[in-house]
Subunit: 121 residues, 2 copies
């Protein structure tokens, strides 16, 4: 399970009609196949330069990739996000138990008990 | 409900014994009164300079403040976090429905329907 978050600073004031309209548009992304538990929340730590966070979950990396390429997501990014968000950072979370799989060194013997799937970061 | 997160970069390699020891020490913070659903997860977006996230929930701001001041949290920060974490950012999340309450302007008449409690950020 992947928790995909975009923490961002919105151009509009908290409580404004413009904020509400942006949030409503973002919440419509929940209709894209594979998106689970989508929400927009307020970021309240004064130590970070962000006002909100868009968060959602994907069961698989394929669902994540499908969302990224979906026309509704692409349109939202172009028509709303790029115009109304002044700063953002993407943070993706996965359970710690799922260890990254080291990328095999060229010529190295296979390591017992490890598969060749997964990512090395 | 406040979701308190610290996204951070750990000095140790993923999968190392040092990583496991740090995570085990962080998970012990769950014993502090008021801490709910504490977890350490992996941060996997290559677009952010962080490797992990410590996340927990508090029912109230008083629980949050109590955790921050708790001797076990202070000791963890001093003995582990400050030595083994090379970069971090605190991000706190609250439901969007809970609007920040504007700080009254000096001399302004009270605004009907608003209390004087809460924070203005």
């Amino acid at each position: 399970m992947i928790t995909h978050t975009c923490v961002f600073r919105l151009r509009h004031a908290g409580g404004s009609a413009e904020e509400a309209a942006f949030v409503a548009a973002a919440l419509e992304l929940a209709a894209i196949a594979g998106v689970r538990n989508l929400d927009v929340v307020r970021q309240t730590s004064p130590k970070a330069p962000y006002s909100h966070c868009l968060t959602m979950e994907f069961a698989t990396q394929a669902d994540y990739d499908s969302y990224m390429a979906h026309p509704d997501h692409v349109a939202f990014t172009r028509d709303r996000w790029d115009r109304e968000v002044t700063a953002f950072m993407i943070l993706d979370y996965e359970p710690l138990g799922r260890q990254p799989v080291p990328r095999p060194r060229p010529g190295a013997a296979p390591v017992a008990g490890r598969t060749t799937t997964g990512t090395s970061r």
